[in-house]
């Protein structure tokens, strides 16, 4: 693997992960959550020239409802979801549960934390996690 292809990593919470020793690096809540059940948003992670792009599906959340927090090396997403039906409507069929979205990721040191940017459009959050300068390839001139 050439140095410029050296991957930077975002560790994703995995159901099969066996490390129960991880401290509940609890995503901090400013206010008590409405519901104790959080939905895990589906995500894609792909590599671009500048770093990693993380896309998360957060349908039903609007821009103001999305909170992204970086604490130490843990990046947490939280998105409040607005109910699609008025209160009192009877549920006849339910394929998705109405809960807020939440998911956390562990960033490696190769992510330039100060330059992480986020865009939100049509219920999709797109986070750009730039590769830290020192993790980028640097050409070293050989003096003759």
């Amino acid at each position: 693997m050439t140095p410029e292809n050296r991957p930077i990593h975002v560790a994703v919470d995995q159901p099969q992960a066996e490390e129960a020793s991880v401290s509940p690096a609890a995503p901090v809540h400013d206010e008590p959550p409405r519901s104790s059940i959080f939905m895990t948003p589906l995500i894609d992670i792909h590599e671009g020239p500048e770093g990693l792009i993380l896309e998360a599906d957060l349908p039903g959340a609007s821009e103001g409802d999305v909170r992204i927090q970086l604490e130490d090396n843990v990046l947490s997403l939280h998105a409040h979801v607005t109910a699609p039906a008025p209160e009192g409507a009877r549920t006849l069929h339910e394929e998705y549960h109405l809960g807020d979205f939440q998911r956390s990721f562990i960033l490696s040191d190769e992510v330039e934390r100060d330059r992480i940017t986020a865009e939100f459009k049509n219920g999709v959050l797109r986070l750009t996690l730039p590769r830290a300068e020192r993790a980028k390839t640097r050409r070293i001139e050989i003096k003759s």
């Binding site: 159901p15 690096a25 895990t40 049509n122």
Partner: protein, 147 residues
């Protein structure tokens, strides 16, 4: 296409440990096992008295990508969710989201007034409002007190 299609095929001995962050504590998703094999899009159907409300999770789509039609009690929804452009397959580290063409047909529990059906799309949620046909609406019968 299932949610299990992560493309973490490359073996990289130096990769960070993938760790579960408080998942057991913060996330309890009763639909998790089933969510991974569910149909796309996921829909909910509500009875709001004089109308049915159908909501569908369609993140990343726009109203122009959707095609809805109603015949009698059958609502058909079609669309295509396009993949993020310009990303070669080998650049994916993880892939959980579904893409491609989809069709879903929903049989409503009762007759609706097909001419009055409306649909709105916002924040990745399609909401279809289907007013019940006159004869299918709950009727209020007033009781007149005698004497």
């Amino acid at each position: 296409m299932s949610g299990m299609n992560w493309q973490d095929r490359r073996w990289d001995p130096f990769r960070d440990l993938q760790r579960e962050v408080g998942r057991l504590f913060e996330t309890l998703d009763p639909f998790q096992p089933w969510r991974l094999v569910r149909q796309f899009p996921a829909i909910n159907l509500y009875d709001a008295g004089d109308r049915y409300l159908l909501s569908a999770q369609l993140p990343g789509m726009t109203a122009e990508d959707l095609d809805l039609s109603i015949t009698g009690e059958t609502l058909t929804m079609k669309g295509e969710r396009k993949r993020t452009e310009g990303v070669p397959d080998e650049n994916y580290r993880r892939q959980e989201r579904q893409f491609g063409r989809w069709t879903r047909t929903v049989s409503l529990p009762d007759r609706v007034d097909g001419t009055q059906v409306t649909a709105a799309f916002a924040h990745g949620i399609l909401t279809v409002t289907l007013p019940k046909a006159e004869s299918a609406r709950p009727r209020h019968i007033s009781v007149t007190s005698m004497g």
